[in-house]
């Protein structure tokens, strides 16, 4: 028992060291003093908004900042323009009285990928389209802020659970004018087919152009939670002046962010800018599109892989579901694609050790390996085609099977048989090692 205790002490010591390192690093990353700078902007689309139809002679260029007659919308940052891994941005502005105002906020510096596999039957024809939509130009952060009076509409949409729809909430809020940046992103549409899946292709490219309707679906596919894309934060006064404290969550991309205030299609403010910074060990993951404290995945991988070594299964079984559960902003495609190569090294060193004592049947290994090569060619494409919910529930069933296997390996019948097998294994391994030593 003493030796067991020693092992535990080891783990605790390692965990303590890592944890204390994490705390020290967190203290270093105290928010930097941000310069107070207010940016005053004026309406850009003043011409379209204010020019009467009859006055066709008015030159459009007269609507320069500062002299726009009526100045439909203005917005400025009231306070810090720099936040550190999230924070609050204070906004004040002026809009025409009696009209709702929406703030469109997005990350200007970083784009991420969003994809969605459309296999829902068409409501009219019942035909399943099987089209794979993909964009590389979804902003890493996108959110529409609405007046606080519209909170009930957001709550109503939230009641639908996973079935919420971006297009529906935008329609309910009347915020069509504020959905622009994702709508401008070119979207690749691929016609998937069974044959294309077999040969590991995404399918035939149908189009590569912006598509506002699809971009709303992709926005949901990317951000998943309604709270991440809409919020009711604007205090709108009857005279049209407004203030807002915009909460920026932690884990968002570093760099420049833009805010534009929208009243309707023709009336919007010029963009204003603020900056988000991150400090090591919080690092922005370019492909995952989220900032993350790297200490956490390190500790998690260490603990899980160690346990994987003990139970005789690679860590991937536990690491994948834990990563997608604990870090919801990591796309499951990235998780699966990044965990896979981490086991390559240990597999390679295992093969090297066995091959050194000539303990591998190359014929058998390569024979089945070729079939697995084909499987490994197809699998990664299927990852993109399923949603996170499907990923999780499929993984749930896989783990149930694995738990069954583990249980079977502790039953008396298996243990008795395994004892014999292990004895033979040891005997053969000894012979192999001796033979290798002789050479």
């Amino acid at each position: 028992m003493n030796s067991k205790g020693k092992g535990k002490t080891w783990i605790f010591a390692a965990a303590f060291l890592l944890a204390s390192f994490g705390v020290a690093a967190a203290q270093e990353s105290a928010p930097t003093a941000a310069t107070t700078e207010a940016v005053q902007v004026e309406a850009v689309d003043a011409q379209a908004a204010t020019a009467p139809v009859t006055e066709a002679t008015t030159p459009p260029e007269t609507a320069a900042p500062g002299e726009a007659a009526g100045a439909p919308v203005s917005v400025e940052i009231d306070g810090n323009t720099t936040i550190n891994n999230g924070g609050t941005i204070k906004i004040k502005g002026q809009a025409p009285a009696g009209k709702p105002v929406f703030l469109e906020v997005w990350a200007e510096s970083h784009n991420v990928r969003a994809n969605r596999f459309d296999k829902d039957p068409d409501p009219q024809t019942g035909v399943r389209p099987y089209i794979f939509y993909l964009t590389e130009h979804m902003p890493a952060y996108f959110k529409i802020f609405a007046p606080t009076t519209m909170q009930d509409k957001i709550d109503a949409e939230k009641k639908k659970g996973n079935k919420w729809s971006m297009s529906n909430i935008i329609k309910e809020l009347g915020a069509d004018s504020a959905f622009n940046v994702p709508a401008e992103a070119p979207i690749k549409a691929y016609q998937s087919s069974f044959v294309a899946s077999i040969i590991g292709s995404r399918g035939e490219l149908l189009s590569d152009a912006p598509d506002p309707r699809r971009s709303m679906q992709l926005t949901k596919a990317r951000f998943r939670d309604l709270d991440k894309v809409v919020g009711a934060q604007i205090n709108l006064q009857p005279d049209g002046s407004f203030t807002a404290e915009i909460p920026m969550r932690s884990g968002i991309a570093p760099g420049e962010y833009r805010i534009v205030a929208h009243v309707d299609q023709a009336t919007k403010s010029a963009p204003i800018t603020f900056t988000n910074t991150t400090n090591f060990p919080t690092v922005y993951l370019t492909n995952a599109g989220t900032s993350m404290n790297l200490i956490y995945p390190f500790i998690l991988t260490l603990a899980v892989t160690m346990f994987g070594v003990l139970m005789g299964a690679g860590g991937g079984f536990i690491l994948n579901p834990l990563l997608v559960t604990l870090f919801p902003m990591l796309p499951h495609t990235i998780v699966a694609g990044t965990v896979t190569p981490t086991v390559l090294f240990s597999q390679g060193s295992g093969i090297y050790n066995y091959s050194r004592i000539n303990f591998i049947s190359w014929k058998l290994g390569i024979g089945i390996g070729l079939a697995m090569l084909a499987g490994g060619f197809i699998g990664p494409k299927l990852t993109e085609m399923i949603t996170l919910a499907q990923f999780k529930s499929a993984f749930g069933w896989i783990l149930l099977v694995l738990a069954g296997l583990m249980f079977w390996q502790t039953t008396p019948g298996y243990l008795a048989n395994n004892k014999k097998e292990q004895a033979i294994l040891k005997e053969f391994k000894k012979r192999a090692e001796e033979a290798a030593a002789k050479k």
Binding site: K4, G7, W10, R113, L285, N287, A288, L294, P297, V309, L310, M311, G312, A313, G314, G316, F317, L319, P321, L322, I334, G337, T338, P341, T342, L344, F345, S346, Q347, I351, Y354, I360, S361, W362, L364, G365, I368, M372, L373, A374, G375, G376, F377, G379, P380, K381, T383, K392, S393, G396, L399, L400, L402, A403, M406, F407, E421, I424, L425, A432
Partner: protein, 129 residues
């Protein structure tokens, strides 16, 4: 197919082996795990091969799958270098520490703990609680 290994000859039903290996490879590359715990029972129970033949050869077969699926995930852009750099050293470190602890623990106890842990994790993934 006949396989010779350390002076003994084994008949291997490659049809079952390849179909099973293919299915395990699709699942494991799709969900990003190794597949060893499924490959070993496939080869011992369904192909009736002895453990000493299976340990090395199953690892070789899985290595094919992992290499290919790594390349494919990379090709589809589903790979993040920074996240990899955070996890890879931890996996290597665990590979060194793990076996040292394993010697001091009873494998049956570890497997029972794993069994319960996996059940809990599976239930939470399936949304039971």
């Amino acid at each position: 197919m006949k396989v010779e290994f350390w002076g003994q000859e084994f008949k291997v039903n490659m049809f079952v082996g390849c179909i099973g290996g293919f299915l395990i490879a699709v699942l494991s590359s799709m969900f990003g795990f190794g597949g060893g715990p499924f490959m070993v029972p496939l080869m011992t129970v369904f192909l009736r091969l002895p453990m000493y033949l299976v340990v090395g050869s199953s690892l070789l077969a899985i290595f094919f799958n992992t290499t290919m699926s790594t390349m494919r995930h990379y090709q589809f852009g589903n790979f993040d270098w920074i996240l990899f750099c955070a996890m890879f050293p931890a996996a290597i470190l665990a590979g060194f520490i793990g076996p040292r602890i394993a010697r001091r623990l009873s494998p049956i106890v570890v497997k029972r703990v794993a069994c319960v842990g996996l059940l809990i994790l599976a239930m939470s993934l399936l949304g039971v609680f």
